[in-house]
């Protein structure tokens, strides 16, 4: 499994755009990049997944450069409720749910008023 490196913590203010970058230099050809969000006292929640270029959904955007050695999760106009830990995971999509996820240390995002 590819090792990921992301900042331990980030601070932002309400209404700002937040970009969290994850490094994964040894990403394999079959690997996808997935981000999870974890609020206090809750389990992680799937946010977004991508393979290359850009993916956007109602929650976030994921930017992946051509070499795929890094990725950036972009949260537009954050609010206080976006305060959470964000995990970047890299691995191939397991078929039939037969493989567990491996979590790195995550990025603790604190949004201030």
């Amino acid at each position: 499994l590819a090792k990921t490196t992301q900042p331990i913590s980030m601070d932002s203010y309400e209404g700002q755009e937040v970009n969290i970058t994850c490094s994964h230099n040894n990403i394999a050809t079959n690997d996808y990049i997935t981000w999870y969000q974890q609020f206090p006292s809750q389990g992680p929640r799937f946010i977004i997944q991508g393979y290359k270029t850009k993916v956007t959904n109602e929650v976030a955007s994921l930017f992946i450069p051509a070499d795929r050695k890094s990725s950036t999760l972009s949260l537009p106009r954050v609010s206080l409720s976006d305060t959470a830990v964000y995990y970047c995971l890299v691995g191939d999509i397991p078929s039939g749910g037969r493989r567990a996820l491996t979590f790195g240390s995550g990025t603790r995002l604190q949004v201030q008023p």
């Binding site: 037969r98 567990a100 996820l101």
Partner: protein, 114 residues
């Protein structure tokens, strides 16, 4: 997406006792995964539970300490045995959500051992 009901949500236990955590999924799943999250830390996989066979444990976790049952495709239990204060953590179960390749997690069990 799959919905997981995890119980209890929290408990305070005496050292030397055992606690059984339950996870119920609203759909049939092949594998269920159990994680531990120590205070302020990331998630660590304890074991993978496959219906009809013994669970597969990760390095550092043993069946005598964390026995797992998987009686059917929608239910699993994790027991934390002979607890010590070092077992104080959040325990979570997870399954793959087949709709978007993401994984769904239970809300967790916050265990405090005194």
């Amino acid at each position: 997406s799959a919905v997981i009901s995890q119980k209890p949500s929290r408990d305070i236990c005496q050292r030397g006792t055992s606690l059984t955590i339950q996870c119920q999924v609203d759909s049939q799943v092949t594998m269920m995964f159990w994680y531990r999250q120590q205070p302020g830390q990331s998630l660590t996989l304890i074991a993978t539970a496959n219906q009809g066979s013994e669970a597969t444990y990760e390095s550092g976790f043993v069946i005598d300490k964390f026995p797992i049952s998987r009686p059917n495709l929608t239910f699993s239990t994790l027991t934390v045995s002979n607890m010590s204060p070092e077992d104080s953590s959040i325990y979570l179960c997870s399954v793959q959500d087949g709709t978007n390749y993401g994984y769904t997690f239970g809300s967790g069990t916050r265990l405090t051992v005194v």
